[in-house]
């Protein structure tokens, strides 16, 4: 049900763009206004969200330790999984952000006759997630060529690598295909793994469909429909140079693609996609386990009500004396 609602929402977005451009002729709005608005929402939204997190104090040093602590010099510490230094933390975070290390260690279980619970490693989510994020990044980087004239050499290099298969005309770029496959996998596992289906909200399916439709329209434009790349680049260069004009002859598919991308960007700050910023601020990952070595300060630490030793002794003095326990006041 949640998946259907999300699908309807994305189809609705496609229709809005289609009608807006093809029927209502709102090229200027969909080609220029919408992307600008989306970028503004994206920037302000992301910055304010990250600042809100950043302003919230971290009262305690609570890393989840996933390996041996630093203790006696002859005991080997897990410097990455239980870091006690900043460099260890940086290493842990890099592995987490770039290689999804926690997901790599994912397990599954099975209840067998006996009863016997058997555990095994499972890497599909890790692989799917990694493929999805990395291909998305490459696609994003590749698109930078639309905003620079001449196209910088490193972007040409990225594209050359991406097209290393050297098949088809125009040449097949791996990243777009992988992105579509990975996002489809992430959708299918949500539908077919009962536990994951049970926890999935509209907010989980919607971005998947959105990204899927972005990928599909992108692939359509590259391989199947003729789009006027020269005009598109004139538009995109116009946007980044704040001198935007809408050239004639751009296919409606491009406008749909652009509208979906704009929606995605505007949606990011208010959605779970903010994990891209949150992962850096997670106190269970980005702190060193050194709280016995260096005192961590809680900015809002306040004095609390105590039951003092003197009060305790007042209550038990006689019993303590009888038991031969020394007391402060006779």
């Amino acid at each position: 049900m949640n998946a259907i609602i999300s699908l309807i929402a994305v189809v609705g977005l496609v229709l809005i763009a289609f009608i807006g451009v093809n029927v209502a002729n709102l090229h200027f709005i969909f080609g220029i206004i919408v992307p600008y608005v989306a970028i503004v929402i994206f920037l302000i939204g992301v910055i304010s969200r990250v600042m809100k997190w950043g302003r919230t104090p971290v009262p305690f040093r609570i890393p989840t330790t996933c390996g041996q602590q630093q203790s006696l010099p002859w005991i080997k510490q897990s410097k990455l999984d239980n870091p006690s230094t900043t460099s260890g933390v940086v290493g842990r975070m890099l592995l987490e952000v770039f290689l999804f290390r926690s997901l790599f260690s994912n397990t599954k279980f099975e209840l067998r006759e006996g009863p016997k619970v058997a555990y095994g490693s499972t890497k599909w989510l890790w692989l799917g997630g990694l493929a999805f994020h990395w291909s998305f990044l490459v696609v994003l980087i590749r698109h930078l060529r639309l905003f620079a004239e001449p196209v910088p050499a490193f972007l040409m290099g990225v594209e050359a690598l991406d097209g290393f298969l050297q098949v088809g005309i125009p040449g097949v770029l791996i990243s777009g295909i992988v992105l579509l496959l990975a996002v489809t996998y992430l959708f299918l596992r949500r539908v077919f793994i009962p536990q994951v289906r049970y926890i999935s909200l509209v907010a989980d399916y919607f971005p998947l469909f959105l990204i899927m439709s972005v990928a599909i329209t992108g692939i359509l434009m590259r391989y199947f429909l003729r789009v006027d790349l020269v005009s598109i680049k004139a538009l995109t260069i116009g946007i980044v140079s704040f001198n935007a004009k809408v050239p004639e002859g751009i296919s409606v598919v491009f406008y749909i693609h652009l509208f979906l991308v704009s929606t995605l960007f505007a949606y990011i700050p208010y959605s779970k996609i903010m994990h891209l910023g949150g992962v850096f601020l997670s106190p269970t990952r980005n702190l060193a386990n050194n709280s016995r070595m260096v005192r961590h300060i809680n900015p809002w630490n306040y004095p609390v009500e105590l039951h003092t030793y003197a009060e305790y002794e007042d209550e038990f003095r006689d019993k303590m004396k009888d038991a031969g326990i020394p007391v402060d006041k006779e």
């Binding site: 779970k272 269970t284 386990n289 709280s291 005192r295």
Partner: protein, 536 residues
């Protein structure tokens, strides 16, 4: 009290999800799965709000009229005080990596025991009240209003989480359900909705210094019983001191070790070790609790209870503090104590008087774990050990949640065990170290009335024990946690009868050859030593 089903019945676990979505499936508060509500006298002792007689089964929980306002206000306050809470409310992508990592989920199949869904119970209310999308789109944005049914659902499921952090290990963002449960319990406590198994020990600890409510003379008395037993086994008379000013070291351990088997054997282990070393140390009857049930209630109460340790160390003028075997005690000491009640600038950086080792890793907190202390002794060959005395045992080691995932004390106890036992076997590697399973009853859930959920939660751990019992004939589960010693005894009795539980220092004491000891014929439990059968 509900009758606990038999193991073969309980292990038929249904992992199928209900037909209705979780928001439309109201929680059914099943007997055997919850603990009795906090008694008014305990809340009064602690000066907590809304002390009153109430029963979980009753429709009316006798809440203040403005309870929703109190909760939402409390939530806002905590969102502004804890980055963890705020970030964890916002960034979950519901990938499901955590879903099958929870011992309660594996043991019960209840989808609301999936960490992600446990957190969503709170997150849905957060979205409905604190996010624009949730306020506008409501259910479409995964939001729901805070109703009495939701509040009861919180109470039921946040007292079905043992704050073990296993889910946090697997989460790609480190989202820690323990953190969310801690917040939820704080909120529930604003309405007087603690469980008595936590509020009672916390009140005891506040007034009497320990969870069990042992008064000073009882502590001395309990230890004297142990000293008699030690004398019977070893022929050595030990005379520890209490509340002694000027001692070099203050020793703090969970009060569970003073009270019941098999924790008392661990305690005898401490006493024998310190005697053998001639350690200049003292017990305290005021700071007679290492554990901290305040930690399962609220940050503030945890700080109040914890403050006794430093205050007592200051009053007695000791140089540093040594801590016994306990799980959550060490999460608190490692990650909270210094922040709450430090700086401990009146203490010195701990230095072993026996080996001269300076415990650099404790230079701010000044509190050393006894496994670190003992591992250092063994490494420096300061103990005479005869591991053959433990040859009747085939030992496995259960990592406690808190010492593994909130500290990283993994190798120290293993090093000790390997030096005092000849037969040591690890459990499945996906169930130990940072991936260890909770005993099933941590975070103050080791009551009697919730035995069904305890046995369910204890199932994954017990099942991994069963595996090494069948493979290697393991008959003893060692651990460094007082709650484990109490709880595993029950859950192994239920799932793997015949398997016993021990603290690491009981094994040490059995293997340790003491100066002037008589020929030992039994171990501390009075069981004959290997080769001594029929001699006792």
């Amino acid at each position: 009290m509900a009758k606990t089903p038999k193991p073969d019945e309980l292990s038929k676990i249904d992992y199928k999800q209900p037909e209705t979505s979780w928001m439309d499936t109201p929680a059914e508060l099943k007997e055997g799965n919850w603990c009795y509500g906090a008694k008014p006298k305990n809340l009064e002792t602690l000066h907590f709000p809304n002390p009153r007689e109430w029963r979980v089964q009753d429709e009316d929980w006798k809440l203040p009229d403005n309870w929703q306002e109190i909760i939402l206000q409390g939530m806002k306050e905590r969102l502004d005080k804890y980055r963890s809470f705020k970030v964890f409310m916002d960034i979950c992508v519901r990938c499901g990596a955590c879903a099958d990592k929870c011992h309660f989920f594996i043991g019960s199949g209840d989808p609301k025991n999936m960490p992600v869904l446990r957190a969503e119970l709170l997150r849905s209310v957060y979205r409905g009240n604190f996010t624009a999308a949730g306020k506008i789109l409501g259910k479409l944005a995964g939001a729901r209003p805070l109703t009495l049914a939701v509040l009861k659902e919180w109470w039921y499921y946040f007292f079905q989480c043992t704050e073990c952090r296993r889910c946090s290990v697997f989460c790609p963002y480190g989202i820690d359900t323990a953190e969310i449960t801690m917040m939820a319990r704080e909120l529930l406590n604003l309405l007087g909705l603690n469980i008595d198994w936590i509020a009672g020990p916390a009140a005891n600890c506040y007034m009497k210094g320990n969870h069990l409510g042992l008064e000073p003379h009882t502590i001395v008395g309990n230890l004297e019983y142990m000293l008699d037993d030690i004398e019977t086994v070893t022929g050595i008379k030990i005379t520890p001191t209490f509340n002694r000013k000027g001692a070099e070291i203050l020793f703090v351990t969970p009060s569970g070790d003073l009270f019941a088997d098999p924790g008392t054997y661990t305690c005898m282990g401490y006493l024998m070790l310190f005697h053998e070393l001639g350690l200049d140390y003292t017990w305290s009857t005021y700071a007679s609790e290492g554990g901290n049930f305040g930690f399962f209630t609220s940050n503030e109460l945890a700080k109040r209870l914890n403050s006794k340790i430093y205050n007592e160390a200051r009053r007695l003028g000791v140089k540093w503090i040594l801590g016994g075997e306990c799980g959550h005690m060490w999460r608190v000491l490692n990650q909270y104590m210094d922040t709450w009640n430090g700086p401990a600038d009146f203490l010195e950086v701990p230095k072993s008087p026996i080996t001269g080792t300076v415990f650099e890793n404790t230079r701010s907190t000044k509190m050393v774990h006894i496994a670190e202390f003992t591992a250092d002794l063994i490494k420096n060959k300061k103990l005479k050990l005869d591991p053959k005395r433990n040859d009747n045992l085939k030992v496995t080691f259960h990592d406690s949640c808190n010492t593994s995932r909130g500290m990283g004390l993994l190798e120290e106890p293993r090093y000790i065990i390997n030096n005092v036992c000849n037969n040591f076997y690890e459990m499945d590697e996906l169930t130990i170290r940072e991936k260890t399973f909770c005993c099933g009853s941590g975070s103050g859930l080791n009551a009697g009335e919730n035995m069904e959920i305890r046995m369910r939660g204890g199932f994954p751990r017990a099942n991994a024990v069963k595996d090494v019992v069948e493979k290697y004939g393991v008959n003893m589960v060692a651990n460094v946690c007082a709650i484990d010693r109490a709880v595993l005894t029950a859950s192994l009795d239920y799932w793997v009868p015949g398997t016993k539980v021990t603290g690491v220092h009981e094994l040490v004491a059995n293997a340790m050859i003491m100066k002037g000891e008589k020929e030992r014929t039994t171990n501390l439990r009075g069981d004959p030593l290997p080769g001594m059968e029929g001699q006792e």
